[in-house]
Amino acid sequence: MSEMRWNPILKEWLITATHRQDRTFNPPEDYCPLCPTEPGGFETEVPRPDYDLVVFENKFPSLERAPREPVVEGTELTPVTDSKGICEVVLFTSDHEGVMSEKPLSRFIKLIKVWKDRYEDLSSKEFIDYVYIFENKGEEVGVTLSHPHGQIYAYPDIPPLIEKELNNSKEHLEKEGSCLYCDVLKQEIEQEESIIVQNDSFTALIPFFARYAYEVNIYANEHITSFAEFNEKLIKDLAGVLKTLIKKYDNLFGFEFPYIMAIHQKPAVEGTEDYSHFHIEFYPPYRTKDKLKYLAGSESGAGAFINGSLPEEKAEELRNTEPFEICEE
């Protein structure tokens, strides 16, 4: 069962999705539902013997294109509504054991083209206000299927964290007359010490206010709002920075580095262009080679993050980790 319940205290919607308890959890390797279907084998989510990149609607969605009626009635204080939206799964490669940092640049270019297509397609639906593209990578962040994949949630409204970002960005624009993200990037570039890699179109850095030890943000250098504005040059440049960063992550401690990757861009709502700035945020759970960052008392109960390291020192660590140049292939 799936529905949205209003939290009047935080002024945000909660999605209930009890059917997700039944989703596939760490299946044996020969039963991966994201691999192609082998002739004579069990049918996976992809009923073909091979594929390049595939997107499909999630079998266990938190938001549904044709949602069922809520099972409980709301009140004036705590309204309930159906959870209308779309949840998709993006398969990055048919190679189950594939390590993305070892894939050629062309794989990243293809993936960005697919993300762009999904963003444009889903944004055009009248019942969608926000298209959120993300990747959960590694058991440490709760991944239940190890096959390289990401997800897309197309929400009926703007989710709380994104809304907070946008409101702050709008306020900054009204007060200063400039984009908040453009100004943050300008300051980071002037100070230099947080920059990890940079090319014509994108800059990867650990922001001054990073919450996680190795929290990298990738900012568009110009005021680009979303994938809808991406041309071939931007696609190739983002692919280069993305691959370089993921390679650095994997080389940092000598294992495939887990993270949550969140792509933030313009909502599917008119009038948000001036204060939406395309950027990607990475939240890796490791704070050292063998210690994880937990969202404990202060973070979970008070919303106040404590970072046990200095972002500029962690940026230096990543800068000094191979590869030192932007990946071109």
Binding site: Y51, V54, V55, F56, E57, K59, I109, K110, K113, V114
Partner: protein, 36 residues
Amino acid sequence: MKMKKEEVKKDDGRLMYYYTFEEDEEDKSKKKEENK
């Protein structure tokens, strides 16, 4: 690279998209250049 998309409806009604890519003339000439 030119992208092609094929939309398919799964047996249970869910939508699915197969993406394939073709090298365009620019990609081919780049490869030729690299192989010289």
